[in-house]
Amino acid sequence: MALIEVEKEGKDMAGTQEKQPVRVRGFPFYPHFLLREVVVMCIVIGSILMLSSLFPAGLLKPADPFDTPSPIFPEWYYLYVFGFLKFWTFDVGPIPAKIIGVTLPMVVWYGLLIMVPFIDRNPSTELKDRKFAVGMGIVVLLGILYFTYYSIVNH
């Protein structure tokens, strides 16, 4: 029922703007799209309030440069970098292990990430036509999960 209305609105809009027909079949931003956004906003804000009330942000002892605590964890989204640094203990030729352990998960990883649209020249957006890209994506995700796990177990 809602959909029929929407197609009509889409055509109305095509008439009011240019002579060229707009071929997009969709919902107008207001009110349809905005309404969905408001629903999502309520869920997100509700979740934040619930988490903040049940699990308030903590505060440990004041910083003491002469007392190293254990274990030291960074924010969870940096754990995989620490994990990889601990995991990689092999020198490659003249390059020391530590340089690789630092460079791969930071410089090389972000460099590759930023270059994704220029590396992947396959025009298809179908999952089944992009076996290599999808495979690489899954390998990288599993790698990040593994090194995150590795950093927690071997702190």
Binding site: P28, H32, S53, L59, D64, P74, I114, P117
Partner: protein, 220 residues
């Protein structure tokens, strides 16, 4: 003519609102975008940014970025300032949620191939936004000046400092010396509340403008 109509007409005469608004209000979002919850993630990250800006400004009213005062001021926020503990917890949880939403948004865009021609540069801006968001997290981690803040920053700056060639410079710029001192704190504070907010606002503007011009990749 009643008052709202008069106000509307006053602005319309000057800014032609009746011509500007309909393309925004009626701009169609593809059917699949409106019905599939995976498309909420980018908007969720933006909502998180707005909440972080609001709660962050509140915290900046009370926070003092010096090694002597930082910890005490955070304690003061949590124990004496009305709703202080709640606002700080909201800032904390929203920051984590934002990184999660941004990460999931990137995973969604990657697996749907939404970064392909003509949206290559929007992916690049997206990766920069991810970098800015995680740097926000890194710089904010030091500010409470508790044991975890200090030592995690010590290790983090140590790792950044051992990147070949650039490392020593990154380390010097971040620390303002060779160790974590009062200089480091003011630098991290300036990065957290001045540099990164300016960067994220510009990048978000470019990100949204590109989406607006190119439309959302509607495939599923």
């Amino acid at each position: 003519m009643n008052l709202p109509d008069m106000i509307y007409k006053w602005f319309d005469d000057r800014f032609k609102i009746s011509e500007l608004l309909p393309p925004i209000v009626k701009h169609p979002a593809p059917e699949k975008v409106t019905s599939n919850p995976l498309y909420c993630l980018g908007g969720t990250a933006f909502l998180c940014f707005l909440i972080l800006a609001g709660s962050g400004i509140f915290l900046a009213f009370y926070y003092k970025p010096t090694p002597e005062e930082a910890y005490k001021s955070v304690e003061h926020i949590m124990t004496a300032v009305p709703m202080g503990s709640l606002i700080r917890s909201i800032h904390h949880w929203t920051a984590n949620l934002m990184i999660a939403a941004v990460s999931l948004h990137m995973i969604r865009v990657y697996f749907m191939g939404a970064y392909k021609n003509p949206r290559e540069l929007n992916w690049v801006v997206g990766v920069l936004l991810f970098l800015v968001a995680t740097t926000f997290g890194f710089s904010g981690y030091l500010l409470p000046w508790d044991q975890l803040a200090f030592w995690a920053t010590k290790i983090g700056t140590g790792i950044a400092g051992s990147i070949p060639v650039m490392g020593p410079y990154i380390s010097l710029i971040l620390l303002g010396g060779t160790d974590i001192t009062a200089d480091t704190m003011t630098r991290f504070y300036a990065i957290h509340v001045l540099i990164l907010p300016a960067a994220i606002i510009v990048l978000l503007g470019v990100h949204f403008m590109m989406v607006r011009i190119q439309g959302i990749s509607g495939r599923l």
